[in-house]
C-alpha cells in the first residue's frame, strides 16, 4: 500500500510530462520562423505591436531583462535574438563588440518623425543612411516619494541619503542610475572620472547602503512597497509614478535640483539575424503613432516620434508631466550618455552593494 501510491503518482506524472512535451513540440518547431525580441520587462506587451501582429499572426518570441548590462553580457555569451532594446549609453559598446549591424534608415517609414535630438545622437551614426539604433522610448529617472509620509522634502537626490528614513528607501540596481546620482551629488562627472573620483563616488554609495531596504530593478515590488508604506521614497522611472497615481496612492515624482536623469532607448538589429525583414516590420510597427501613444498613455514614457505626441491629448501630457518636446525636458535634466568607466563603476558598485 505504502509503496504503491508514490509509484502510481510517479507514473501518472511521467505520463503528464510526456503529454505536455508532445503537445508543446509543434510550438517549439514553429519558433524558428518567428522574430525574437529581447527587451526590458514591460516592453514586450502585444499592445505595442498591433500592426505587426496583424501582418504576422504567429507573433513575436520575447525574452526580457531587468538591466541592459545583463542583457549585453547574455548576448555576448551567445544568446542570439533578432532585435534587442538597450539604451543609448550602451549602443557604442554593442557596436564596438560587433554584436549589432547597421539599420538602414530608408527602410524605416517614420524615421523623419523621430525627434532630431534623438535621431542625431552621435553614437547612433553608422555611416550615411545607416544607424546602430532606432530610438523608440525615452523617459526620466527620479525619486518617487509618498507625499503623506515625507512632508515637503527638499527637491534633491539627497532624500535617498536621508537617515531619517533609514530602512524605508530603495534604489535602482543599475550602474547607469544609482552611481550616476552619487556622482552628481559629489560633484563628479558621471560620464568620465578618474580612479580617485570613482573612490569618492564609492564613498557616497557606501554611505547610502545601510539606509536602503533593497537595491532592485523589480519595479513591481517597489511600487507595492511604496503603496503599502513600507518604502517612503525610491528611485524609479516615470512608469511607476503613473501606475501609483492611477491607484490613487499619494505620491510625487520629484524634480531634484541636481536634475532628473533622462534616458533614451531603442531597437538594435543583431548581427546576422535571419529575420531582418521581420525586424524592420517590427520597428516600423512600433514607430507608428498608435504604438507610441500607448507607451505615453500607459507608462508615462516619452515616445521618440512627434506623431505619437500629436496623438495624445494635451491634458494627458500635462498630467503626466511630459513635455511634448524632449528638448524642453533635456534643458533641466541629465542625459544618460555613454559612461567611459562603465566596467570599473560596475565592479565598484557590486562591491559596495555586498558591503565592501
Amino acid at each position: 500500500m505504502s509503496q504503491k501510491t508514490p509509484r502510481t503518482i510517479l507514473s501518472s506524472l511521467l505520463a503528464a510530462a510526456l503529454a505536455c512535451a508532445t503537445a508543446l513540440s509543434p510550438v517549439a518547431a514553429s519558433a524558428g520562423d518567428k522574430l525574437t525580441y529581447f527587451t526590458w520587462s514591460g516592453y514586450e506587451l502585444p499592445e505595442f505591436d498591433a500592426t505587426y501582429l496583424k501582418a504576422h499572426a504567429d507573433g513575436v518570441d520575447t525574452s526580457t531583462f531587468g538591466d541592459d548590462d545583463d542583457a549585453f553580457t547574455k548576448v555576448k555569451a551567445g544568446f542570439r535574438p533578432d532585435l534587442a532594446h538597450p539604451c543609448y549609453d550602451k549602443v557604442a559598446r554593442w557596436s564596438r563588440e560587433g554584436l549589432i549591424e547597421p539599420i538602414e534608415t530608408s527602410r524605416i517609414k517614420n524615421w523623419d518623425k523621430i525627434f532630431p535630438v534623438f535621431r542625431d545622437l552621435p553614437d547612433l551614426q553608422a555611416g550615411p543612411g545607416k544607424v546602430w539604433m532606432v530610438p523608440w522610448d525615452w523617459g526620466n529617472t527620479s525619486i518617487l516619494y509618498r507625499t503623506d509620509l515625507v512632508k515637503d522634502p527638499e527637491a534633491s537626490w539627497n532624500l535617498l541619503w536621508d537617515k531619517a528614513y533609514s530602512g524605508r528607501l530603495a534604489t535602482i540596481d543599475a550602474v547607469h542610475d544609482t552611481p550616476v546620482v552619487a556622482a552628481l551629488l559629489t560633484g563628479v562627472s558621471p560620464f568620465d572620472m578618474t580612479p580617485a573620483q570613482i573612490d569618492i563616488v564609492a564613498a557616497k554609495l557606501r554611505e547610502q547602503r545601510p539606509l536602503l531596504s533593497s537595491y532592485t530593478t523589480d519595479m513591481t515590488s517597489v511600487e507595492q512597497a511604496l503603496a503599502s508604506g513600507q518604502l517612503v521614497a525610491a528611485m524609479t522611472w516615470n512608469a511607476s509614478a503613473v501606475a501609483l497615481k492611477k491607484q490613487n496612492v499619494p505620491v510625487a515624482f520629484m524634480k531634484p535640483k541636481e536634475g532628473m536623469l533622462t534616458w533614451a532607448c531603442g531597437f538594435v538589429l543583431l548581427k546576422g539575424s535571419p529575420h531582418a525583414d521581420l525586424a524592420y516590420d517590427f520597428i516600423n510597427s512600433r514607430l507608428e503613432a498608435s504604438s507610441g501613444q500607448k507607451l505615453i498613455e500607459d507608462y508615462g514614457y516619452g515616445a521618440s516620434t512627434t506623431s505619437a505626441f500629436d496623438a495624445v491629448p494635451k491634458a494627458t501630457l500635462e498630467s503626466l508631466q511630459l513635455p511634448a518636446d524632449p528638448n524642453v525636458a533635456l534643458k533641466t535634466t541629465i542625459f544618460t550618455g555613454p559612461m567611459k568607466q562603465a566596467d570599473d563603476l560596475a565592479k565598484m558598485f557590486e562591491k559596495v552593494k555586498a558591503g565592501g
Binding site: K4, T5, G167, V175, A225, S228, Q230, F349, K351, G355
Partner: protein, 292 residues
C-alpha cells in the same frame, strides 16, 4: 566503469546492459561536469581583457581575493546563512522523519504532503514568503490584530532572517528523505533490546536511534548546505543589502560587472571552501561521532 577496461576477465552475461546503464552518467560527468569544472579552473587564472574568456595567465584574481577583506566577509556570511539554514532544516526535519518512520499510519499521505510544495515553482514559494513577511503582509497584520504590535514592522522582510526562513522551508524535504531512509534501516529489535535492558525511551533514542541515523542526518545536512551557500535568487528577493551572499557576487561578475575570469576565481574559491567545510564535518563525525 572498471569492468570496461579489464579485458582479461570473461564476458559476463548482461555486460552490455551494464555499459548501457553507465553510459548516460559517464557522458554527463565527463562532458558536462568535468569539462565545465576544467573550463572554470582555466578561466580563473586568466585576466580580464574585455573578452569573455580573458587572456594570458595570471594569479591576479586570487591576489585580489586574498587582499580584499570584502570577499572573505561575504563568503563567511554565506557560510553562516547556509549553516543556519542547515541547522534549522535538520532540526525541524528530524521529528517529521522520526514520526514517519516509527508512528505514521498514513505514511504515503504524509510523504505526499512533504513533497507537495515542490509541485509549485521555487519562485512562487519565495513570493509566498514575501506575502507572509511583507510590511502589510500576513504576519504583520496578524500581530497587529492580536495587539502585539501597534504598527507594522519593516524588520521581517529584506533581512538575513527572511533568507534563512525561506531557504529552510524550501529545502526541508531534502533533509526529511535521507533521515527517513536511515531511520527505516535501523532494526526495530535494537530498540526493543535496549528497552528490555532497562533503557528509558529517551535513552533508547539518544544511545541507539540517533547514533544509527547520523549518516542520514549528515547526508541531509550536506544536501541542504551545499546548494544554499551559493544561492542567489533568495537573497535577491527576500534579503536586503545586508544579506548579499557569494552567489550574488559571482553572478554579478558574469553579468553586470563583466569579469568572467574573476567570477570563475570566486566560484573556485567557494567550491574549495565548501569542500574544506565538508571534510571538517566528516572528520569531526569520525572522531567525535557517537556511532560505534
Amino acid at each position: 566503469m572498471a569492468d570496461l577496461g579489464t579485458s582479461g576477465q570473461p564476458q559476463r552475461p548482461g555486460s552490455a546492459f551494464r555499459v548501457a546503464l553507465m553510459l548516460p552518467g559517464s557522458v554527463v560527468t565527463l562532458g558536462l561536469i568535468l569539462f565545465a569544472l576544467g573550463l572554470l579552473a582555466i578561466l580563473a587564472f586568466r585576466f580580464n581583457d574585455g573578452s569573455l574568456f580573458g587572456a594570458g595567465f595570471t594569479l591576479g584574481n586570487f591576489r585580489i581575493l586574498a587582499s580584499e577583506p570584502l570577499y572573505g566577509l561575504v563568503i563567511l556570511r554565506s557560510l553562516t546563512i547556509a549553516g543556519l539554514v542547515t541547522a534549522a532544516t535538520v532540526v525541524t526535519a528530524y521529528p517529521v522523519a522520526y514520526y514517519l518512520s516509527f508512528h505514521a499510519r498514513s505514511r504515503a499521505l504524509i510523504l505526499f504532503l512533504v513533497t507537495l510544495p515542490f509541485w509549485t515553482s521555487y519562485l512562487l514559494r519565495v513570493f509566498a514568503w514575501k506575502i507572509v513577511l511583507a510590511y502589510n503582509g500576513v504576519l504583520n497584520s496578524g500581530l497587529i490584530a492580536a495587539g502585539i504590535w501597534s504598527e507594522p514592522s519593516t524588520a521581517l522582510l529584506n533581512t538575513p532572517a527572511a533568507v534563512v526562513l525561506t531557504l529552510a522551508h524550501a529545502y526541508a524535504p531534502f533533509a526529511i528523505l535521507p533521515i527517513l531512509v536511515s531511520l527505516d534501516a535501523i532494526p526495530r529489535s535494537l530498540a526493543e533490546a535496549a528497552a528490555d535492558l532497562g533503557a528509558t525511551p529517551f535513552t533508547v533514542f539518544r544511545r541507539v536511534i540517533l547514533p544509527n541515523s547520523m549518516p542520514g542526518v549528515l547526508a541531509g545536512a550536506v544536501v541542504v548546505f551545499v546548494p544554499t551557500v551559493g544561492d542567489y535568487v533568495t537573497p535577491a528577493l527576500v534579503g536586503g543589502p545586508s544579506s548579499t551572499m557569494i552567489g550574488s557576487l559571482i553572478q554579478a561578475q558574469f553579468g553586470k560587472a563583466q569579469d568572467w575570469p574573476f567570477g570563475a576565481a570566486l566560484a573556485l574559491v567557494v567550491m574549495l571552501v565548501i569542500l574544506a567545510v565538508i571534510l571538517l564535518v566528516r572528520r569531526a563525525d569520525h572522531r567525535f561521532g557517537s556511532r560505534l
